[in-house]
């Protein structure tokens, strides 16, 4: 009876972890309903003791009816019974949902197709869980479908699942296990594991008494969950440490985690297709010219998609530590122009851990721990987000002459990964060679390639294309010739690589549009473009994507990439900028081959992006130890506070004749009680605790005999005992004087009998306080017990039924 219900609860608890995937809450209500429907079906199957195979069938029927009623009710017969039409509508919705999920990056909009898809998924999981738990009685196996559900947000989201969500899910599964264990043990007979004898007395003997087991089960479960949450946070790993907030880590809603690189390509189309075109950032530049702002540089093409190698962000590459590494490949002789750009990111952009920057940035002034990747000059952070950030950047744009470009070496000195390609259809290589056939230099070949996309190839711009793997690429290049910036960029990069030009795909924003005095960049300005490498000049951006209204609106073709004879075309840069050579640019400093920072010696470093900590290890360990010590000292501090409060209560002042007798008696009462409690705690601390049945008198006798107290100490303990005794039991306690001195004497006498280790322990880790804390813990658990014992109907009523 209980198991189907607990299965439903567990499924629902785990499905709650899906919340960051959606923008709205409709999916949750849908899923709740689906789980309820399945659970009701499960309960009914249990009630009717249907055969095991019937339950999932019934569950599926229930789920089907539920989905029909909720999503295609108007087409169904009497809102409930599925008809051909409604089933068709349902399938349509399903297909749309699939397509939508492919299309959007998380968090996805919560429209009916997606909500329906989610609901159906959660409902199916609920059926499987019910099958495992109730029918096959393998509750532990139910963890697998639940885990499957759990991995969805874990796999899709860049951020780790928040710990409250994890706890909720884990609690759901644990309760399921406990319920199953209880049901199982319930058939064994009476259990003897009871925590309190009182609990045993009131037991209902009808079924086995599993309270004790339940309790231990709960305790083990809670402990396991607590450990699972706390332990990873405490362990010193390569991962950032979220508890103490050292170094990197923390993004989005929950703190903690590595820098995640969302699939930039997938995000790109999502952003371009967003119905509303919101502002992302605005900037001003010293020459007032629009400029592409690059966020990512993707340098690896694996046949499926473009990704980036792991970035290396060492502490000394922090942007506030001086100029960034020199742009790779830029020779000192190449003319550059220095541009200063002031960028303001709007507050409500999605969490972004990279800074959009004009290439190549040389100086970045931004608040926070921003680090530059040495190879690509991407600037990223693992602790800070770009939203709302205002920062300044100085970039040194190369202004190569045609000669310099032509002179670019045939064999560039650059990491071979920039020319690496996966297995490609020969047609693509042939196409590349064909386009570049009569180009004398690599540069000209590159210009030809761009021309192929913009003019000669007959390409059209459309967002309605999908995929970026080799097949899609082949389709784009050979057959359809229809796509948007991403396909253009990636296709050009692939073609360039196939004729030996190092290339990579940059993703970011176009220069945007000028509104009043600032350039404004909106979501629809998201863009991808290829960057090609020429020795002596470095990386140059190309623009194969069609611009204008029939293409990427604000795309702009760089001058140097236009075919000759445009080679003498003056720079579009405003003459007011200070064209300088690298050698006399103090900040740009591209001349500094000699100042080249030491790169990662291994050069093959791979693994999660882990910027090396600025905090030395010993400081981290020290802080950890200190925190631990502080935690450990809590009982001692609590003990001190309690003792001080009691010592204050020990003495009382009679404020005069106006002090009433009752008030005085109350003070005496409190004082003696304080002395007694303090004595109790002292005894507990020294490991000679008073048994609950030990009377004051017996205690005094025992201590005096056991520890051979001298007359003074013996007198003091007797005085305390007598005062307590009279106050508690006598008709008239008589006159009692403050017991402060006596208590001190007794404490000293007791301390003298205890070993040094005992005394230290009594001060640092007083057992009395530990016991008290344990008592508090017990009460919390008792609270849980009571929660569990709340019943909607009484046992008796159920028995009668």
């Amino acid at each position: 009876m209980r198991l189907p219900i607990w299965s439903g609860v567990a499924t629902l608890a785990v499905s709650l972890t899906l919340y960051p995937l959606f923008e709205g809450g409709a999916w949750l209500w849908g899923s709740l309903g689906a789980v309820l429907a399945v659970t009701v079906a499960g309960v009914v199957s249990s009630r009717l003791t249907l055969p095991g195979w019937a339950a999932p069938v019934l569950g599926l029927v229930a789920l089907g009816v539920y989905l029909t009623a909720v999503y295609t009710g108007e087409k169904a017969w009497a809102l409930l019974v599925p008809t051909k039409e409604s089933a068709g509508a349902l399938l349509d919705l399903l297909a749309t949902g699939f397509a939508d999920i492919q299309r959007f990056a998380a968090p996805v909009p919560d429209d009916p197709p997606i909500a329906m898809l989610t609901t159906a998924g959660v409902g199916l999981i609920a059926i499987v869980v019910d099958l495992f738990v109730t029918r096959l009685r393998r509750a532990a196996l139910a963890g697998l479908p639940l885990l499957a559900l759990f991995t969805v947000p874990a796999a899709v989201l860049p951020d780790p699942i928040g710990w409250p969500a994890f706890i909720l899910g884990a609690l759901g599964f644990t309760s399921l296990l406990i319920a199953d264990g209880r049901e199982r043990v319930g058939h064994w007979g009476r259990a003897v594991l009871v925590r309190r004898s009182r609990a045993a007395e009131s037991g209902n003997q009808e079924t086995a008494d599993t309270r004790g087991l339940r309790l231990s089960g709960k305790r083990i479960g809670f402990t396991a969950i607590a450990l699972a949450v706390v332990l990873p946070a405490l362990l010193p790993t390569l991962e950032p440490d979220p508890l103490f907030g050292f170094g990197v880590g923390g993004s989005g809603k929950g703190k903690g985690g590595t820098i995640s690189v969302p699939d930039p390509v997938a995000n790109l189309r999502g952003r371009l297709q967003l119905p509303e075109n919101t502002a992302v950032l605005s900037y001003t530049s010293s020459d007032d010219a629009p400029r592409y702002l690059r966020i990512y540089a993707l340098d690896v093409f694996d046949g499926e998609r473009w990704t980036m190698t792991k970035m290396k962000g060492r502490p000394e590459n922090r942007v506030d530590q001086g100029p960034l590494p020199p742009p790779p490949g830029l020779a000192p002789s190449t003319k550059t122009s220095r541009v200063e750009t002031d960028i303001q990111i709007s507050d409500d952009v999605d969490p972004l851990e990279f800074l959009p920057l004009p290439y190549p940035p040389q100086l970045v002034r931004a608040e926070g721990d921003w680090r530059a990747d040495v190879d690509s000059l991407m600037v990223f952070s693992s602790g800070d987000l770009a939203s709302g950030l205002q920062y300044q950047v100085v970039s040194t744009e190369p202004e190569p002459t045609a000669d310099q470009l032509d002179a670019s070496s045939e064999r560039p000195e650059i990491d071979p990964r920039y020319v690496q390609l996966p297995e490609l259809p020969t047609r693509i290589r042939e196409l590349a060679t064909e386009i570049a056939a009569d180009s004398p230099t690599k540069y000209e070949a590159a210009v030809k390639l761009q021309q192929f996309f913009t003019r000669t190839g007959g390409f059209t711009y459309s967002l309605e294309t999908q995929g970026h793997n080799t097949e899609a690429l082949t389709d784009f290049l050979i057959q359809s010739r229809t796509g948007y910036c991403e396909q253009f960029a990636s296709a050009m990069a692939v073609l360039a690589r196939s004729i030996g030009i190092p290339a990579r795909v940059a993703i970011g924003y176009t220069g945007g549009t000028k509104i009043e005095s600032r350039w404004e960049v909106r979501t629809h300005d998201s863009h991808a473009w290829p960057e090609l490498y020429f020795e002596g000049v470095g990386w140059l951006a190309f623009e194969p994507t069609p611009a204008g209204s029939a293409g990427q609106g604000t795309a702009r073709v760089p001058d140097y990439s236009l075919p000759r004879p445009a080679e003498t075309t003056p720079s579009t840069d405003d003459p007011s900028t200070s064209p300088t050579t690298g050698s006399d640019t103090p900040s740009g400093a591209p001349n500094s081959r000699d100042r080249l920072r030491e790169l990662d010696p291994e050069g093959v470093y791979s693994g999660p992006i882990t910027p090396v900590e600025t905090t030395p290890l010993w400081v981290t360990i020290g802080l950890g130890v200190a925190a631990l010590l502080v935690l450990l000292l809590i009982p001692a501090m609590v003990r001190l506070v309690i003792r001080n409060r009691r010592v204050r209560a020990l003495t009382w002042k009679i404020s005069g004749p106006s002090d009433e007798v009752t008030a005085r008696a109350e003070k005496v009462d409190r004082s003696v009680a304080a002395a007694w409690a303090e004595l109790d705690d002292v005894l507990c601390d020294y490991g000679m605790a008073r048994a609950p049945s030990e009377t004051p008198r017996a205690l005094a006798r025992r201590l005096t005999q056991q520890h051979e107290f001298d007359a003074e100490a013996a007198g003091s303990i007797t005085a305390i005992a007598s005062a307590v005794e009279r106050l508690l039991f006598a008709r008239d306690p008589g006159s009692i004087t403050p017991l402060k001195r006596e208590l001190r004497i007794v404490r000293r006498a007791l301390a003298a009998t205890a070993s040094r280790g005992r005394r230290i322990r009594a001060t640092l880790l007083p057992p009395s306080t530990l016991l008290r804390m344990r008592g508090m813990g017990e009460r919390v658990l008792d609270g849980f017990d009571r929660l569990e014992n709340i019943r909607l109907w009484s046992r008796a009523a159920r028995k009668n039924a």
């Binding site: 009462d669 049945s693 009377t695 009279r726 039991f729 006598a730």
Partner: protein
């Protein structure tokens, strides 16, 4: 010393009188001060005492010594299998001179009745004692005769394993406030006994040290000893614990609670205190409770005597910590 406490003169007198009686008894019984003290406690709490032990350890001597040291009528009944109830309560005999039935009071009409080897009498005779002990009155031929105060039955018995005995029924055991075991004397005490008592019976030399009126006053004083609510509650806790102990088949009766509190009062008074503390109860728990309890089969199997069970319960039941207001 932070504590000063004044004892009422009445209590002072009680303590000194009790002390005299104790000394008198102890001049006869060597080295058994606990048993003597308990005997006095029972006397002052208006109860009856059961002395149980093997023959020859001074059971009868104790009973007689107590009786002797108080200047009051004392009767001694030797219980035998052929003893009849009327031999205890008395009979109505026909007086030929007055031509009327005349009540001849039995040995029960005394302040202190020593019933020797009570378990040798038949159950019928034993039960004749019931009414007298509980209600302090005797009914013969429809006429009720009140017994004098103080009235105390001191019964001695041999442990039931001995031959030719009838175990006391539970109902009757419940009427005794306390049971005391004499135990063998210490070697030193035994030696002294040989030296001192070798020639003459020490009982003969014993002079009464208190009068009936004095004892009555003492009893009155004991009645006035204060028992606070927490201590009463503690008594109930103790007794309740015997009813719930898995080692016991039969727990202690409500009457035993009453007697425990009464005995604790006497105990406190004997210690010169005019209020009862849990210590009094703890000390009296075994003599007052143990003889009323029946061990469960399991406990019997493990040879766990009710005394042990009671000791354990006393160790487990927490003493009152706060003042109930």
């Amino acid at each position: 010393m932070a504590v000063t406490h004044d004892v009422s003169p009445q209590l002072d007198e009680l303590v000194s009188t009790a002390h005299r009686i104790r000394q008198a008894i102890e001049s006869v019984i060597e080295g058994k001060s606990d048993a003597v003290r308990l005997t006095l406690t029972v006397l002052l709490s208006e109860g009856h005492l059961l002395i149980e032990d093997v023959p020859g350890v001074g059971k009868t001597m104790l009973a007689k010594a107590l009786a002797r040291s108080i200047d009051c009528p004392v009767r001694r009944v030797q219980f035998t299998p052929d003893l009849l109830p009327s031999d205890i309560t008395g009979v109505s005999a026909y007086n030929q001179q007055t031509r009327e039935f005349e009540f001849k009071p039995g040995p029960i009409f005394a302040n202190i009745v020593v019933g020797d080897e009570i378990n040798r009498a038949s159950p019928k005779t034993q039960s004749a004692l019931l009414e007298c002990m509980e209600e302090h009155q005797v009914t013969v031929d429809g006429v009720t005769y009140e017994l004098d105060s103080p009235f105390m039955v001191i019964a001695t018995q041999n442990p039931i394993e001995m031959e030719g005995t009838y175990p006391l029924p539970e109902a009757q055991r419940d009427r005794f406030t306390a049971r005391v075991a004499m135990g063998y004397p210490e070697p030193a005490a035994e030696l002294e006994m040989l030296d001192v008592h070798g020639g003459t019976s020490p009982l003969d030399k014993l002079q009464p040290v208190a009068t009936t009126a004095e004892v009555r006053a003492l009893i009155e004083a004991v009645r006035g000893v204060y028992v606070s609510q927490p201590v009463k509650k503690y008594a109930i806790d103790l007794v309740t614990a015997t009813r719930h102990s898995p080692d016991l088949r039969l727990g202690a009766s409500p009457r035993s609670t009453l007697q425990l509190v009464r005995a604790a009062r006497a105990h406190a008074a004997l210690s010169g205190r005019d209020y009862v503390i849990p210590d009094d109860m703890q000390e009296l728990a075994i003599p007052v409770l143990a003889h009323r309890l029946l061990p469960s089969i399991e406990a019997q199997g493990q040879r766990r005597m009710p005394e042990q069970v009671v000791t354990e319960l006393v160790r487990r039941v927490p003493v009152p910590e706060t003042r109930a207001s």
